[in-house]
């Protein structure tokens, strides 16, 4: 009798474990169309193209070796190599070029042309995956060789290009699809990579908001004041800014609240649009008032691709309610039968 009871208890436990696993699998592998991927690809195409164009005049100056450029590529590369010699850097390409009797300047020019071309190809959706791989690799080389002159936007670009490179390209709006008549991609693979991007953004904002909350300057508005008058990102005159001195503390607290609560309210159907709109407005404001255009653009692209594009057959944008993951009944392939 007691063995029967313990057996049914074990069965119940197994069932609940199985249901939990299915729900988790359903959350990880929802069915998605490739519209978000189109937005992501085109957005990153624009980002990479602008990145290459805006750095055109300083490209050699930033990444040339010592004595030719600003600080020389070698210091940044030495610091990177200390962490791991396997991290890609321009030094690799230049060493290959040297064996082929190609000079450093030519290699850097080829790398720049490669990056620009990859950006344009991504924009068109032509050779989407090779273009994504080239864009990720050359940008990573630039970010690592110029590690000393890199900033936050570079990390986000690397992350976005990394996810794009692994996503199920090409999408149906790309030239690749039109030319090669590629088959539609697995909706669950599309859903998985979108989910990865969504969860990643939740980490970004939660940690960003939490860290800001720990600084007294975000409570009294002084951090907003300092960030807006800080050269060279001081696009607004302090004389104008001082008129809003009573608004700054409120804005500072709102930014922290918006970021720290993002992982909750971006998933709820009722609040998703509001949070997304506020986050996009915040990034647009960062771009316009501080001149951090690349940072603003990459964050807007990631947010729109992750949460701004409606899923097929839904009026509300993207994703599914957290408590009842769509796919809990769809993740059959992944969940045990």
């Amino acid at each position: 009798m007691s063995s029967q009871t313990s057996c049914s208890k074990a069965k119940l436990k197994l069932n609940s474990l199985h249901r939990g696993w299915q729900r988790f699998a359903g959350f990880l592998f929802p069915s998605e169309s490739d519209t978000w991927l189109t937005v992501f690809r085109i957005g990153l195409g624009v980002q990479v193209t602008l990145y290459a164009l805006f750095l055109r005049s300083d490209w050699h100056y930033l990444f040339a070796s010592s004595g030719k450029g600003l600080v020389g590529r070698e210091v940044g590369e030495a610091i990177t190599s200390f962490e791991s010699p396997l991290i890609p850097k321009f030094g690799w390409l230049i060493a290959v070029g040297r064996t082929l009797n190609i000079g450093e300047e030519t290699v850097l020019t080829v790398a720049w042309v490669g990056l620009l071309s990859a950006g344009c190809l991504l924009l068109l959706g032509l050779l989407s995956r090779p273009a994504a791989i080239v864009a990720w690799f050359v940008h990573l080389c630039a970010a690592e060789s110029g590690g000393l002159v890199a900033y936050g936007a570079d990390n986000f670009m690397t992350t976005a290009l990394f996810y794009l490179m692994l996503s199920p390209l090409p999408d149906r709006y790309s030239f690749d699809h039109w030319v090669a008549k590629t088959k539609p991609k697995n909706p669950k693979a599309l859903g998985f990579w979108r989910r990865v991007l969504q969860v990643h953004l939740c980490f970004v904002y939660f940690i960003g908001g939490l860290a800001k909350f720990l600084g007294n300057g975000w409570w009294d508005g002084s951090n907003l004041w300092r960030s807006l008058i800080r050269p060279p990102i001081n696009l607004i005159s302090p004389d104008l800014l001082v008129h809003f001195k009573y608004v700054l503390p409120l804005l500072g607290i709102l930014i922290c609240l918006l970021e720290v609560s993002y992982p909750v309210f971006i998933w709820l159907k009722r609040t998703r649009r509001i949070w997304l709109a506020c986050i996009l407005a915040m990034h647009a404001a960062i771009g316009l008032t501080m001149g951090l255009y690349f940072f603003a653009l990459v964050m807007i692209i990631m947010n729109v691709a992750a949460f701004g594009v409606p899923s097929p057959g839904r009026s509300a944008p993207a994703t599914h309610e957290l408590p009842s993951y769509e796919g809990s009944h769809q993740g059959i392939e992944f969940g045990a039968k």
């Binding site: 990145y51 986000f156 670009m157 990394f162 860290a211 001149g291």
Partner: protein, 187 residues
């Protein structure tokens, strides 16, 4: 595994901020934060030898994904701004003042990012070399310059109240180097 590493990187950054005592949390939390930071960095393999393959593997992956640094931008507070002023002593006795510069605005942000990194402890060993290279980048444009004095300064921005009272930014020299064509001497 991907999100485990991301969690470790993010929390290592937050615990580091707390351990530095630069947050609003009471100082009693510093030592716990230091311990928690150690746990997070241990997960990233950073407590292992620099040549450890696991440590290198994790570092390579983090850099490849762009998640090697946390997301605590402008946190807990906005850091100080820094500048490098170069005094150029010409052969004919003239003295000119210049700063390292780039052509485009996108690259100017990067140069500024480099200057703000220089005071960090991790760059102490390469600081002089970097300042020398920055000075040399300007020197190349002025071949008749005999000597360059590079002064690295922290720029303290006024608060709103100070600004309303007419105060402007103040400069605090942190270090300076003299470079000449024959050799370099540090001050």
């Amino acid at each position: 595994m991907h999100f485990f590493l991301l969690t470790a990187v993010c929390f290592a950054g937050v615990f580091w901020l707390i351990a530095q005592g630069s947050t609003i949390l009471p100082s009693a939390s510093d030592k716990y934060a230091r311990k928690a930071e150690l746990v997070a960095t241990w997960c990233l393999g950073k407590e292992a030898r620099a040549s450890n393959p696991l440590r290198r593997g994790i570092a390579t992956y983090l850099h490849a994904v762009g998640i090697q640094a946390g997301y605590s931008f402008f946190a807990p507070n906005v850091p100080s701004h820094h500048r490098l002023m170069l005094e150029l002593f010409h052969d004919d006795g003239r003295v000119e003042y210049e700063s390292p510069h780039v052509h485009g605005k996108a690259a100017a942000l990067r140069l500024d990012s480099l200057l703000d990194r220089l005071p960090e402890e991790r760059y102490e060993s390469v600081r002089e070399a970097l300042v020398k290279m920055l000075a040399f980048s300007v020197w190349r444009e002025h071949p008749d310059v005999k000597k360059v004095r590079a002064t690295f300064e922290a720029v303290h921005l006024p608060s709103i109240t100070e600004f309303e009272q007419g105060e402007v930014e103040t400069l605090e020299p942190i270090f300076s180097f003299d470079f000449s064509l024959r050799g370099e001497e540090q001050q």
